[in-house]
């Protein structure tokens, strides 16, 4: 067999083999594309989880449980079933999330439940509107939030109080408080969202340059710039909880703590919380 003939026969074999590769690949293509589609979605969720952890958990909770009075829960069955109907949104829920995260909220849509901490109720996150995130990052966050859909629990919007609410009178006599119960309340009522996890409000825990809230409460009401009516540390803390606009700590003038806690806590709850706060020195 001459070299030319060898090359022709080998060449034909090679072309046939290459064609077989391509046909084989073509048969696998639909399955491959579906697999990559799934992988891309999974990777979007992973990246979104990371972004949520760094940007959103401070207010919406590490597991999307929300902060009462401040940020609605996202890991919530209501959010996936009825939210769109309630706001009259015509697009998909994922688009709703992207739109909300991108441009934020100037005012709360549920001021009675989530008045927010001032204006805007939620900041804009997209760098197109002055926020820190790129549009693709917001898409990833939306993919992560959407992944709660199948497991989201039905959360109680407002738990029934065990007794009459404490009201806004700071001179009343409170029952004896339990610091351990107070610590649990601080988490369940979402206080830690702004006072411990983030620095939205004045920090509770002691720091190198300032003592904890328990120590500060004992002197604050005696300072010259104090504008409230409290005459003791307990009264000062109660006033801060039930009537937060009576006095604003310097540096936090622009922040508005929800004014609804007088209706959301019983006298016992308030006493427990105050007892806990006084331990933070």
């Amino acid at each position: 067999m001459s070299r030319a003939q060898l090359e022709i026969s080998l060449g034909i074999l090679l072309v046939l083999a290459t064609g077989t590769f391509l046909i084989y690949q073509g048969l696998l293509e639909p399955e491959r594309m579906a697999r990559l589609d799934k992988e891309q979605r999974a990777q979007a969720i992973e990246v979104g989880a990371d972004l949520f952890d760094t940007n959103c958990k401070g207010c919406h909770g590490p597991q999307g449980e929300g902060t009462p009075g401040l940020c609605p829960p996202l890991n919530d069955k209501y959010f996936f079933t009825d939210r769109l109907k309630d706001v009259g949104w015509s697009g998909s829920l994922e688009d709703y999330i992207v739109a909300t995260v991108s441009s934020g909220r100037l005012v709360s849509t549920r001021p009675d439940q989530y008045p927010g901490n001032g204006h805007p109720a939620m900041p804009a996150w997209s760098d197109q509107f002055g926020g820190p995130l790129r549009p693709d990052q917001i898409r990833y966050i939306a993919a992560f939030i959407m992944n709660w859909q199948s497991t989201a629990p039905l959360r109680q919007q407002a738990a029934a109080l065990a007794g009459p609410p404490v009201g806004t009178d700071i001179t009343q006599q409170l029952p004896a408080g339990d610091a351990t119960k107070g610590e649990a309340l601080a988490t369940s009522q979402g206080c830690v969202g702004c006072h411990v996890t983030t620095t939205t409000g004045p920090a509770w825990l002691p720091k190198p340059d300032q003592p904890g809230i328990g120590a500060r409460a004992e002197t604050r009401f005696t300072e010259a710039d104090y504008t409230g009516k409290a005459t003791s540390a307990e009264q000062y803390l109660l006033e801060s909880i039930v009537n937060p606009s009576a006095f604003k700590v310097p540096g936090y003038d622009a922040v508005q703590m929800p004014p609804t806690y007088g209706q959301a806590l019983t006298a016992q709850d308030a006493a427990d919380l105050i007892a806990y706060l006084l331990t933070l020195k």
Partner: protein
């Protein structure tokens, strides 16, 4: 009328008509001639119609009429030049199709790659072929050049061809490099950021050059569009122009060089005459080229289909986050390696040995010298090879100096390339290194290779005993998780106890933990934390990373 339509007459007429048509299509070869050519028989007409094609057909007029038999020996050329152009054509064809699916803007570029991969039939094949072809073209260009150098084929009539070849090497590198940015992932973004920062080192106009290239102080929408246009218009046009000149010289002027052994060696006249025999383009060379093309397609398409070679794709580019272990594309590692050398310090040390103290670091800008001056000198040296080397001989044994320099140069490039990788002279702190090895910021790594079902929720603390099975409660256990955790434990223990390590590699009193939490439907959060006492201050330090893993994240 009827008579004129008798069968014989009709056949004859049809034959003439077909023959004429074939002659028009083949630019001169009739039906008989075509058959003879395909069968490898001698020409049927005089003058040789197979040569006529070379004057009448555009495509064939740029191809050679013949090569000398001696120059077509496989071990003389290894067909390196042929395959370089094969890859170029592969790039043009796949590139033109890829352009359909690509949008050169930071907001859309990465998505268009994702869409190409998950929504376009054969999309991944196209992308892989284009990437493989690019790397192949760089490799074959370099090998082709090395072969030409070693066989001394740049001498005498071929000096200008060598000259154009050096330009083609540069064009090939920059074609490949300009395409690197286009997927707009972390890999491409940071590799190109490193590459373009070199332009900044240029004296006088460095800042301006960098701005022109990037379109802004950092690569953004402007930079991407510029690189895209450079990649799909400027450099391909330049390549076509210079390749045409380069090839024209070979095909129409001097042909492929004969092996030195035959040209200047002590061989018989018989052998020389045999080597100078003409091998016609039609049919022999053409047939061979078709065969090589089939071979090339078989290998490249085989690689990206049945052998699962895939072009890498990392997370979308993030200008705010530089991933650890960022590096230039491999064909620029040598340049990155050179930049790690500081000539001023070396000279200062050399002088200090003989007792002279000099202060050079202010005078010699390391980045300028190693990133701009030296590479320019190297390029000029390469261009000037035929003019510097005046030795008339071509045989390896008659030009020891040139061969020595060639080998030295090749070795230097290999060594510098190694120095360019993150493995050399980069002091990553131990805790960062260990967690990066376990779960790299980009790419897969041992942690991401653990099957989702083996990521058993729990807290795993590193201790001096390496566990053999972390999941004793399940019959199959979790071998991959156990293995990854064992490797992690070993690395931490080594850094904690081995006092012979460099200070930056040590973690005294290290405590490490791996925490696996169920986070969401099909999503787990893994926290890796190392706490240790700082070597110098003794203060406690913590390094921590969170990794989210989804069941379907895929591990290629």
């Amino acid at each position: 009328m009827l008579k004129s339509l008798n069968f014989q007459d009709f056949r004859k007429k049809a034959r003439v008509a077909i023959d004429n048509r074939v002659r028009i299509i083949t630019a001169g070869m009739g039906l008989n001639e075509l058959r003879a050519a395909v069968r490898g028989e001698p020409p049927t007409e005089k003058p040789n119609p197979r040569y006529k094609v070379h004057t009448t057909s555009f495509i064939f007029h740029i191809r050679p009429r013949y090569y000398e038999k001696g120059s077509t020996i496989l071990t003389h050329t290894f067909r390196l030049g042929f395959f370089t152009s094969f890859f170029f054509f592969l790039e043009v064809i796949t590139g033109l199709i890829l352009m359909i699916y690509y949008t050169p803007s930071p907001a859309d570029a990465y998505n268009s790659i994702l869409n190409l991969l998950s929504n376009v039939p054969y999309g991944q094949v196209l992308r892989d072929l284009h990437r493989l072809g690019a790397e192949g073209m760089v490799i074959f260009t370099a090998l082709h050049m090395l072969r030409t150098y070693l066989t001394g084929s740049y001498k005498k009539d071929r000096t200008f061809t060598w000259f154009t070849g050096v330009f083609l090497l540069g064009i090939t590198l920059f074609l490949s490099f300009s395409g690197y940015l286009l997927p707009w992932d972390q890999l491409s973004y940071w590799a190109v950021t490193i590459g373009t920062s070199m332009a900044e080192a240029a004296p006088l106009f460095g800042t301006q050059a960098n701005l022109l290239l990037r379109g802004a102080p950092d690569i953004g929408a402007g930079g991407l569009l510029r690189f895209y246009l450079i990649h799909v218009v400027l450099f391909p046009l330049l390549a076509i122009l210079v390749i045409s000149i380069h090839y024209y010289k070979v095909s129409r002027e001097h042909g492929i060089s004969l092996p030195a052994k035959i040209e200047e060696g002590n061989v018989s006249a018989e052998v020389k005459r045999e080597a100078k025999q003409r091998i016609d383009y039609i049919p022999d060379l053409l047939g061979h080229e078709v065969f090589l093309t089939a071979l090339g397609l078989f290998l490249t398409i085989g690689a990206v289909t049945v052998f699962n070679w895939h072009a890498p794709l990392e997370h979308v580019a993030n200008p705010q986050v530089t991933p650890l272990d960022t590096k230039a594309p491999w064909y620029f590692w040598w340049l990155q390696g050179m930049l790690k050398i500081d000539p001023a310090t070396i000279i200062e040390h050399a002088f200090a040995r003989v007792g002279i103290h000099v202060e050079l670091s202010a005078l010699l800008n390391s980045k300028q010298i190693m990133g701009i001056v030296l590479p320019t000198i190297l390029a000029l040296l390469l261009l000037g090879v035929p003019y510097i080397d005046r030795n008339p001989y071509r045989s390896l044994f008659k030009r020891p100096v040139a061969v020595g320099f060639g080998l030295l140069f090749t070795l230097a490039i290999v060594a510098l390339s190694y120095m360019g990788t993150p493995a050399y002279a980069i002091q990553t702190p131990a805790a960062t290194r260990i967690l990066q090895d376990l779960a790299p910021e980009e790419g897969i790594g041992p942690l991401r290779e653990i099957p989702f079902d083996q990521l058993r929720v729990g807290t795993y603390e590193v201790s001096s005993t390496i566990p053999r099975n972390l999941c004793t409660d399940t019959p199959t256990g979790c071998p991959v998780l156990t293995q990854a955790f064992a490797d992690f434990s070993q690395q931490v223990n080594k850094a904690a106890t081995d006092v012979n390590l460099q200070p930056y590699q040590r973690l005294p009193n290290a405590k490490a933990v791996m925490l696996i939490e169920d986070w969401q439907q099909d999503l787990r959060k893994i926290t890796l934390r190392i706490v240790w006492d700082d070597v110098t201050t003794g203060k406690s330090k913590t390094y921590e990373r969170h990794i989210f893993l989804h069941r379907d994240h895929g591990a290629e």
